[in-house]
Amino acid sequence: MGALDFHMTANRGPTVPESLREIFQYRDLLYMLTWRDIKVRYKQSAMGFLWAILMPLLIVGAGVLVRMAFSMGSKQHLSMAEFSGIALKSLPWAFFVSAVKFGTNSMVSNPNLVTKIYFPREVFPLAAVLASLFDASIASVVTLVFLVFCGVGISIQLLWTPAILVLIVLFTAALAMFLSCANLFFRDVKYLVDVFLTFGIFFTPVFYDARMLGKWEPFLLLNPLSSLLEALNRTVVLHQAPLFSWLSYAACCTVLSLIGAWTVFNRAEAHFAEII
């Protein structure tokens, strides 16, 4: 049987490798859907690409303000390193928020496609993540300039960065997949996600560093995103090696959540057209 043949037995969904292969077959669709999401966002908009920068900028602004208020209280000046740390970590956080938000709605906002035409449904959340990634890469130019301006130099530890960034993207993708699927079955997931994303910034070391919590630090780092943001801060701003144990913990979490989300997605896929 060729690659395009299929043989379907009742109730058996595709396995993760099978769906990976299928997504590869449909890579042009993934590209087009991503492109559509980006295009639609910037079409008929007055702000254009400024939009991509606005969100991280607001987060940085809020973070700096909060930290300034703290440092005024404790009579300590906000150091340049802390300042760049906030700027650096705001970007992946902004990406995470936008990707999860768009990802959660990605399927319910396309009911026509879900009920009428077959293709691997994973492309919906994945395209949402990729479109957010596009925004983030535009904003990253600004972040880079900013970091250089703040005098953040380079070191050998920067080599960790790509791996950390990939882990952040994959973890986000896993969440987006799971939540898009959950939102299709239960529409209140969307509101829960909104609440969690709004307050999540207080539970994630974006404005502050994990070590400021002292002995409670491990609890914070249990959130894989926290460990990854911390690792990013250490390698880029502080020129230190990441905490290896926490980084590998985050990597494990990412892989497991990806497999878990994908399995749930594949199992549930059979019901999408009926439930949506």
Partner: protein, 398 residues
């Protein structure tokens, strides 16, 4: 025997009636029962019903295969199972080759994008590669007849343009198996002809086509074989003409009379009075029936409608004054036998007869008998058409 392109093997599919839980409150029970268990193979649970039961058929490579049946018989469910949008509860479905559907044209269009952008987007949704779309782009735009509007956002298109562009993209996917669901009704008449031509060409090129339509005429012209579904079960599989015949004669299809006057014992006979259902063009026939009137028949009109069964086109709709056949004196007897002599000047096809009685005095229908008789005309004179003009070819001018 050529290769099997597509196979349904004992397929069952059930749906649930009524509201489906969609709030988190029901998450735990739903997850344990639903997506995370394999419990949905078994019997029907509360409020569930079978949309398809034990459906099996095979379609050979290059064959055009029709699926016919009344509303709710399971045609679209079968198609959605085939296109893998739905998954069966039991049974196996096998397909060999690239499969694509002309199911909902323009489903993937985004309002804010231009026609050009949507062609690419929709093409990818239907399983084409970007390079492939690029190669066929001009052909698609030509087929749709969109012209200069291709760079206008589709939200500014007329609904006809929208549908035409959608069909044009879908028609250029060139799959090995094509699923078609009731899309030939898109656009104006000329565009419909164009679509139909395209379909015929696709069939001629050796593509396997699965065709679902209420237009039996189209099914008959495209498909060599068909399956008739009746409330989710296979009622018949065979040559299209026979399946259509079976479907047209479905007793469940004729409506119940709720009028004061009754029309009954309807039968079609040949000139000699023997019951007959198959006629040759030009043959004599007699329609016999019995009326149990509720008003004096002399004041009434008899409505006689003959429709082509495959598409519902009215061949004729006569209003015959019953006074011609009168006088009717035995109203009290309650039983008036009547007959209408006919010349079957029709071409090949299935036809259904409806009768009604209209009271001129009260301007009301007092009897209505829909689809009370059907007959077939068989001939090998024509390619298509309906009226038998009795052509007489001669040498020289008479």
């Amino acid at each position: 025997m050529s290769e099997i392109a597509l196979e349904f093997d004992g397929v069952w599919k059930k749906f649930k009636k009524g509201e489906i839980h969609d709030s988190l409150r029901d998450l735990i029970p739903a997850l344990t029962r639903g997506a995370f268990s394999n419990n949905h193979t078994g019997k029907l649970e509360d409020r569930e019903f079978w949309a398809l039961q034990e459906v099996s058929f095979q379609v050979r490579k290059g064959e055009a295969f029709g699926i016919v049946g009344a509303n709710g018989a399971g045609k679209s469910t079968a198609l959605k199972l085939l296109s893998r949008i739905l998954r069966a509860n039991r049974g196996r479905i096998t397909a060999r080759g690239r499969l694509s559907g002309l199911i909902e044209v323009g489903a993937g269009f985004h309002q804010d994008l231009t026609g050009r952008e949507n062609v690419y987007l929709n093409g990818c949704i239907l399983g084409m590669k970007r390079r492939e779309i690029g190669l066929k782009f001009d052909e698609i735009v030509n087929f749709a007849g969109i012209g200069d509007f291709i760079d206008t956002p589709v939200k500014r298109y007329s609904s006809g343009m929208y549908a035409r562009l959608g069909f044009a993209v879908a028609a250029h996917v060139d799959p090995e198996i094509l699923l078609v669901d009731e899309v030939l009704s898109v656009g104006d008449m000329r565009f419909q002809e164009k679509c139909f031509e395209r379909m015929r060409r696709v069939v001629g090129q050796g593509t396997t086509v699965i065709f679902v339509s209420h237009n039996l005429q189209a099914v008959q012209m495209l498909c060599s074989r068909a399956v008739l579904l009746r409330s989710g079960r296979v009622a018949m599989i065979g040559p299209t003409a026979e399946v259509v015949k079976e479907y047209v004669c479905d007793p469940a299809e004729s409506s119940v009379q709720k009028f004061p006057t009754r029309i009954g014992d309807v039968s079609l006979c040949d000139g000699g009075g023997r019951a007959k259902a198959n006629f040759r063009p030009g043959e004599k026939a007699e329609l016999r029936f019995v009326v149990r009137p509720s008003a004096p028949l002399d004041e009434c009109l008899l409505g006689l409608i003959v429709r082509r069964a495959t598409d519902g086109l009215a061949v004729c709709d006569y209003n015959l004054p019953l006074s011609v056949a009168g006088p009717f004196t035995e109203v009290e007897a309650g039983c008036v036998p009547l007959s209408v002599g006919l010349h079957m000047n029709l071409l090949r096809g299935a036809y259904v007869v409806s009768l009604h009685v209209f009271n001129r005095a009260t301007s009301r229908h007092i009897a209505y008998a829909d689809r009370v008789a059907n007959f077939f005309v068989e001939e090998t004179l024509s390619w298509e058409g309906m009226t038998h003009l009795q052509p007489n070819l001669r040498n020289g001018h008479a």
